[in-house]
């Protein structure tokens, strides 16, 4: 990312590009474990969406469809709070990692 100087910055460094932090891929923080979504066991309770600190639950239409690994930090709260007896989100080992943390 190119650093801007005072010539390009807005006065008072006001940020007019609302919500541009989506370019920070927090998924690179994950170390060792990641959640895995098992669609057929999902009861669509939306608790994972509610309790995900990094907004990493993919919702399409009115259904939970999976996990956005670009942002998932692997805290495991979704898996702990998943209510069915046979959980629809389980934590699995992860070895491969994203190389870059910036979408630009």
């Amino acid at each position: 990312m190119k650093k801007e100087t005072w010539k390009e910055l807005t006065i008072g460094t006001i940020n007019l590009d609302a919500g541009n932090s989506v370019k920070n891929l927090t998924g690179t923080w994950r170390s060792g474990k990641k959640p895995q979504f098992i669609e057929e066991k999902c009861i669509q309770c939306f608790f994972c969406w509610l309790y995900c600190p990094h907004s990493a639950i993919l919702v399409e239409g009115d259904e939970v469809k999976g996990i956005n690994y670009d942002y998932c930090t692997g805290c495991g709260m979704c898996s702990v709070e998943c209510p069915p007896k046979e959980k629809a989100i389980i934590m699995v080992k992860e070895e491969a990692k994203l190389a870059e943390g910036d979408a630009e």
Partner: protein
């Protein structure tokens, strides 16, 4: 009653890519609070975890008008914005039917300690604002110094446990009570694990004419030192042990929103947290007893107030 499905379909006002810790409680709180009103929103944010993590220059996680404030003046900032809005309405420069909501936000450091004077002033002047405090019991953003919201016996970097000290020696300040003493229309205490309760309270706060205050418990894996996947469970324990009772005070009338089926000992709340680990040493047993006594007293008093 709102369904999570419908809330999920609403636009995110706090988007992904912020730098908050694994298992942080703050985004969960604001996921609900920011959905409790559909009107345009202006937010003044005191320095703290939320402010620092969501606006790492040159990016921002906010999809609404957001003003950075210093530690001490988030309440003054938002009160000023609200006054401006009223003035412009009087002059006819904002249409009569245009509704904007005003939200002040701060952590326990910016609310219990440094911002208390500004908050008290804004509440007393009766601005039509909502102030939400996320209480994570410490200055978590700067490395976990003690705040006046840190509970008795907790180890913090400026009240460390050791041979000469059992952690923080003073009891937690009861800010909610201080706000009740301002005789404002709406004051409530909430927790992110009871999302319907939090949502209802946030809705009430936004609908209230005049100042409203929400004090929300916010678990913090970094400073409380527990397994980061257990945050919601831990918040439930805080409710079940009555360490953090859920109640609201509407025009002076107390109402308890959650009464545990069986009040659990404070020990269950203390056990999973590393910041209390030293309390299990023999010489610190008195702290546990004292903590339990204080919680019991507060719970009894609250029950009395709710029956009035």
């Amino acid at each position: 009653m709102a369904k999570l499905k419908d809330l999920a379909a609403m636009e995110d006002r706090l988007v992904a890519g912020h730098g908050m810790c694994l298992g942080c409680g703050i985004p969960l709180i604001f996921r609900i609070v920011l959905r409790a009103t559909e009107d345009p929103l202006i937010i003044a944010n005191a320095t703290g975890c939320l402010e620092v993590c969501t606006t790492i220059f040159p990016r921002t996680s906010w999809n609404v008008t957001w003003i950075h404030s210093a530690f001490e003046n988030a309440a003054s900032t938002i009160a000023g914005v609200e006054s401006m809005y009223k003035a412009l309405k009087n002059k006819g420069r904002i249409p009569e039917d245009k509704k904007i909501k005003f939200l002040g936000v701060g952590g326990d450091g910016g609310t219990y300690d440094i911002g208390l004077q500004a908050l008290s002033g804004a509440m007393e002047r009766g601005h039509d604002i909502v102030y939400v405090c996320y209480d994570n019991n410490a200055y978590a953003n700067t490395g976990g110094q003690r705040s006046s919201a840190t509970p008795l016996g907790a180890s913090a970097t400026t009240s460390p446990e050791g041979t000469q000290s059992p952690g923080k020696l003073q009891r937690k300040k009861d800010l909610t009570k201080i706000l009740v003493a301002h005789n404002i229309p709406y004051v409530a205490q909430a927790s992110p694990n009871r999302w319907q309760d939090l949502y209802k309270k946030a809705q009430k706060a936004f609908e209230t004419e005049g100042p409203a205050f929400l004090n929300v418990l916010c678990f913090c894996p970094t400073e409380w030192k527990y397994d980061e996947s257990q945050g919601i469970r831990l918040a439930q324990t805080a409710l079940d042990t009555c360490v953090w009772p859920l109640y609201e005070v509407e025009n002076g009338k107390y109402k308890i929103n959650y009464i545990p089926k069986e009040k659990k000992p404070v020990l269950e709340w203390i056990k999973p947290q590393g910041r209390f680990r030293h309390l299990f040493k023999e010489e610190n047993a008195w702290v546990l007893e004292e903590y339990q006594k204080q919680v019991d007293e507060d719970w009894e008093e609250l029950n009395k107030l709710a029956k009035l």
